[in-house]
């Protein structure tokens, strides 16, 4: 028994070491890629791209469910995006509030019979409306089906552009975000089949008429920790995976896809819990099965701002759902593992997700239990344990500070000294007890999935109006 516990503790150590080394490697790759990207940006004149006669049209798909508070502001901002060939398709997904009526009034919608070919499956459409204020706006009113995927599928059926960009109705896009995310597509349209942009945390920032007026860090600890997480995930993780053409997630809040390909794979899976991850996994599978030469790009400068949970309960639900989504995608795609046909996706990306993402809560919590047991049996080397904790803590902090440094070196959205100081301090604070709680939430997610509990639990959202703090004062109110 003692031998077994000793073995388990050492295994946990090597697991941590491998996980952190993998992230360290990604950090190095991300630094290199970002440096190259910044140089590349110096030679990209966005106005040249905008004036280019060959800019392909893009359909923005905006699923909206009970968004009466923010839909008009969101749509005005989307219509104001800096992109020459734009079509905006709002999918009113069975809203029970006045979302449709408010849009009808504000944008003078009239019922039309726009071309709607039910190529991918979605719930029945009740009506199609085009705006008299701006002809680029089309609204689909459909019966609710309880999933964002279903709403996006309806939008796909109506989209008339070669590229679709899925945007959350409650997110805020920067004015040139679409132009920026299309840069890799325009540079290599034959290979680039999808591109994802960076999603940043909106909480705490000042918003005016639905646009970011001043970027500030949120006040609540739980929100700041999420900022560090988002920086780590996007500026390090996605940047590095995309460098090796192994990007497995294009965020559902902001991503561009080739319309024909998304239709070819049957659109979004309606029952998927993480529909964005599921779509990208199926795209990889489809393209690799067809021996296609393709790339899924990540562009770190087009920014989409989104609100993150500001209370523990909502955060726990979100993280449990993400974990369920992970399993929901990895399990059906397990046949892609270690198959030569799926190349680095099968040999690197998917195994990484299995070992260091999906199984992480199981391994870590089992590890904690084995450490406790070893302590109870008197088989624990306290010196080793202390050193292990210090090492794990220090290493993880290097990664987190590395992501803040990456932000500092590249896009530098947080200009205020206090914000950076707080970000750095949370790099030290996030490991206790947030990390342990996070593991428990993720474990709960796995358990819920295995029990067949797929219920969507609503997240408490403050909405843009609440995040929108003092519009005239110098400092914003906290999001919470």
């Amino acid at each position: 028994m003692i031998h077994l516990l000793d073995w388990a503790n050492h295994a946990l150590f090597y697991y941590y070491l491998a996980s952190n080394l993998a992230y360290l490697m990604m950090l190095v790759i991300a630094f290199r890629t970002s440096a190259a990207h910044l140089r590349h940006l110096e030679s990209i004149r966005l106005d040249w791209i905008k004036d280019s006669p060959m800019v392909p049209p893009v359909s923005l798909l905006v699923p909206a469910h009970n968004e009466e508070q923010s839909i008009c502001t969101a749509l005005r901002n989307l219509l104001d995006l800096d992109y020459p060939e734009l079509e905006i398709i709002v999918i009113n997904d069975g809203s029970t509030d006045n979302t449709l009526q408010i849009m009808q009034k504000e944008f003078r919608l009239r019922a039309v019979r726009a071309v709607y070919v039910p190529q991918v499956v979605s719930a029945p459409v009740r009506g199609l409306y085009r705006s008299d204020v701006d002809m680029r706006l089309l609204v689909i009113d459909k019966s609710p089906a309880g999933s964002k995927a279903d709403a996006v599928n309806a939008g796909l059926n109506a989209a008339a552009s070669p590229y679709v960009c899925v945007v959350d109705a409650d997110s805020v896009l920067e004015r040139d975000a679409l132009l920026r995310i299309m840069v890799p597509v325009l540079s290599d349209p034959n290979r680039v089949v999808a591109a994802g942009g960076i999603v940043r945390v909106l909480n705490g920032s000042q918003i005016e008429a639905g646009r970011i007026r001043r970027v500030r860090l949120a006040r609540k600890s739980i929100e700041v920790i999420q900022v560090v997480e988002y920086l780590r995930a996007f500026l390090i993780g996605r940047e590095a995976w995309a460098r090796g053409n192994m990007l497995m997630i294009v965020s559902g809040a902001f991503g561009v896809f080739r319309t024909d390909l998304v239709r070819a794979i049957g659109g979004y899976r309606r029952s998927a819990i993480g529909e964005d991850f599921d779509l990208v996994a199926r795209l990889h599978r489809h393209l690799l099965n067809n021996h296609a030469d393709y790339r899924i790009a990540f562009v770190p400068d087009p920014v989409c701002w989104t609100e993150v949970p500001s209370d523990l309960r909502s955060l726990a639900r979100q993280r449990a759902r993400w974990q369920k989504g992970l399993l929901d995608v990895l399990w059906p795609n397990r046949d892609m593992l270690f198959r030569p046909r799926y190349g680095r996706i099968g040999w690197l990306a998917l195994p990484y997700l299995w070992i260091f993402e999906l199984l992480a809560p199981v391994i870590e919590i089992t590890g904690f239990a084995s450490v406790l047991l070893a302590a109870l049996f008197g088989a624990l080397s306290w010196t080793f344990s202390l050193q292990f904790v210090l090492f794990g803590y220090g290493f993880a902090t290097v990664i987190s500070i590395g992501s803040v440094l990456q932000e500092e070196l590249t896009y530098k959205r947080y200009n205020d000294w206090q914000d950076v100081a707080r970000l750095v301090s949370y790099c030290f604070l996030e490991h206790f007890p947030y990390r342990q709680m996070h593991m428990i939430w993720r474990l709960q997610g796995l358990w819920q999935y295995l029990r067949g509990d797929m219920a969507w639990r609503p997240m408490k959202r403050l909405g843009q109006e609440s995040v929108d703090a003092d519009k005239t004062g110098p400092s914003p109110l906290p999001a919470g």
Binding site: H40, E42, S52, R113, L186, R191, T397, G402, L409
Partner: protein, 404 residues
């Protein structure tokens, strides 16, 4: 010699972890120190830069007119780069008179020449940067250096040079791109190449024709697409030759170019192209036919509503809706087609053009049978063809068109 694992084990976890802890603490401290130093430096740098910009702004006219000797700032790298950035920003939004003054300044001060030199002699991202700056000046003397950039080994540099030449938007730049494509083939992605060619060939599209005759298939495809975009009435007869070309891109270009010819001359060829096997050829043909708004095009446009491609259907419908005074007979024809998708396309175009009300009025004012009118109104209201279609009344215009 023991394995790496043996060595690892001999180290003992405690010793190893101790070293690792020291390493990560040092790494944390270094990262923090770097952030701190960089912030401080940037704060100083930008304050300094802002102050310099303000000072330059205050002496702007003296600077541009050359009153301040060029030698006073030209040799100081940071000063030169700042002035160049400010001048180029101003140049991009300037009126023609101011543009000429700024270009004269850039030439006289040697900024253009410096960039040409850098574009020729530097490599990697420095060349890249020089090419972009050179393109921003739009100085014709930079075309040669940009063209040399097309032959760089690095694909990003080639793209920068290509975009730069596109920015020049003149036939000389087109010539350089076309000559390079002839030599090197397709070594850049198609979209930027097409964009650059469209921008540079717009003034003199005939530059494309000699290259179209001897280029390889992939290059011909690109050139064909470009030709389709930039075709002018001057090329009309030349384009007709491409109507039966093997390449769909060239047939599409012909379809587009034919829209500049006389309707009676073009409709016959376009009606053939409207039956092409490739959808975008049919699309181009429909757009051209719709543009004529001529009765001879009507039957082909009506038939276009049954096309398998939704974009072709939509363009055909848009073409039909442009016959504003003949909407009723056209609608009867559309209903007679018994094609649900075609009907949808027509109604979409009708609604987008805001002509639904006038069609309703035309049906109500018609003196023929009430039942037929009711059926048509029902189809218009429900967009559903489940009811048997009324026998279309032969309209003189449509009949004449069909006979022709």
């Amino acid at each position: 010699m023991g394995s790496a694992f043996d060595t690892f084990r001999k180290l003992g976890p405690a010793a190893f972890v101790l070293k690792a802890i020291i390493f990560v603490i040092v790494a944390d401290v270094l990262l923090l120190a770097f952030i701190l130093l960089r912030r401080t430096y940037r704060k100083w740098y930008f304050a300094n830069r802002d102050a310099r910009m303000l000072a330059i702004r205050q002496q702007w006219d003296a600077l541009i007119s050359g009153e301040i000797p060029f030698a006073a700032w030209r040799t100081k790298t940071s000063e030169r780069e700042l002035i160049e950035a400010m001048v180029l920003d101003a140049y991009e939004v300037a009126n023609p008179e101011e543009s000429a003054r700024l270009l004269k300044f850039m030439r006289a001060s040697g900024l253009v020449e410096k960039r040409i030199l850098e574009a020729r002699h530097h490599h990697g991202w420095r060349r890249h940067k020089a090419l972009v700056a050179l393109a921003r000046t739009r100085a014709p003397e930079g075309i040669r250096a940009l063209a040399e950039g097309l032959r760089d080994r690095d694909s990003e540099t080639r793209l920068a040079a290509l975009r730069g030449l596109g920015r020049m938007a003149c036939p000389e730049a087109a010539k350089e791109i076309l000559n390079w494509v002839d030599d090197a083939g397709l070594v850049v992605p198609v979209l930027p190449l097409q964009s650059a060619l469209i921008q540079t060939c717009a003034e003199r599209p005939q530059e494309l024709l000699p290259h179209l005759h001897h280029a390889d298939k992939p290059v011909r495809e690109v050139l064909g697409r470009v030709l389709g975009e930039v075709a002018t009435p001057l090329l009309g007869s030349e384009l007709m030759r491409f109507a039966d070309d093997d390449l769909p891109e060239l047939r599409a270009a012909a379809a587009r170019g034919l829209s500049y010819l006389n309707a009676l001359e073009a409709v016959n060829i376009l009606s053939e192209l409207a039956k092409d096997t490739v959808w975008f050829v049919r699309l181009r043909a429909m757009v051209s036919l719709g543009g004529f708004c001529h009765p001879t095009a009507l039957p082909i446009l009506v038939q276009g509503l049954t096309d398998s491609n939704r974009l072709v259907r939509l363009r055909a419908a848009e073409g039909l809706v442009d016959f504003k005074t003949e909407l009723l007979p056209i609608f009867e024809k559309v209903v007679a087609l018994q094609d649900q998708y075609g009907l949808h396309a027509f109604l979409t175009a009708l609604e987008n053009a805001g002509l639904q009300a006038s069609l309703v009025a035309a049906i109500k004012n018609r003196n023929s049978g009430m039942e037929t009118n009711e059926t048509l109104l029902e189809v218009l209201r429900t967009a559903n063809l489940s009811t048997p279609p009324p026998a279309p009344e032969e309209n003189t215009l449509v009949k004449a068109a069909a006979q022709s």
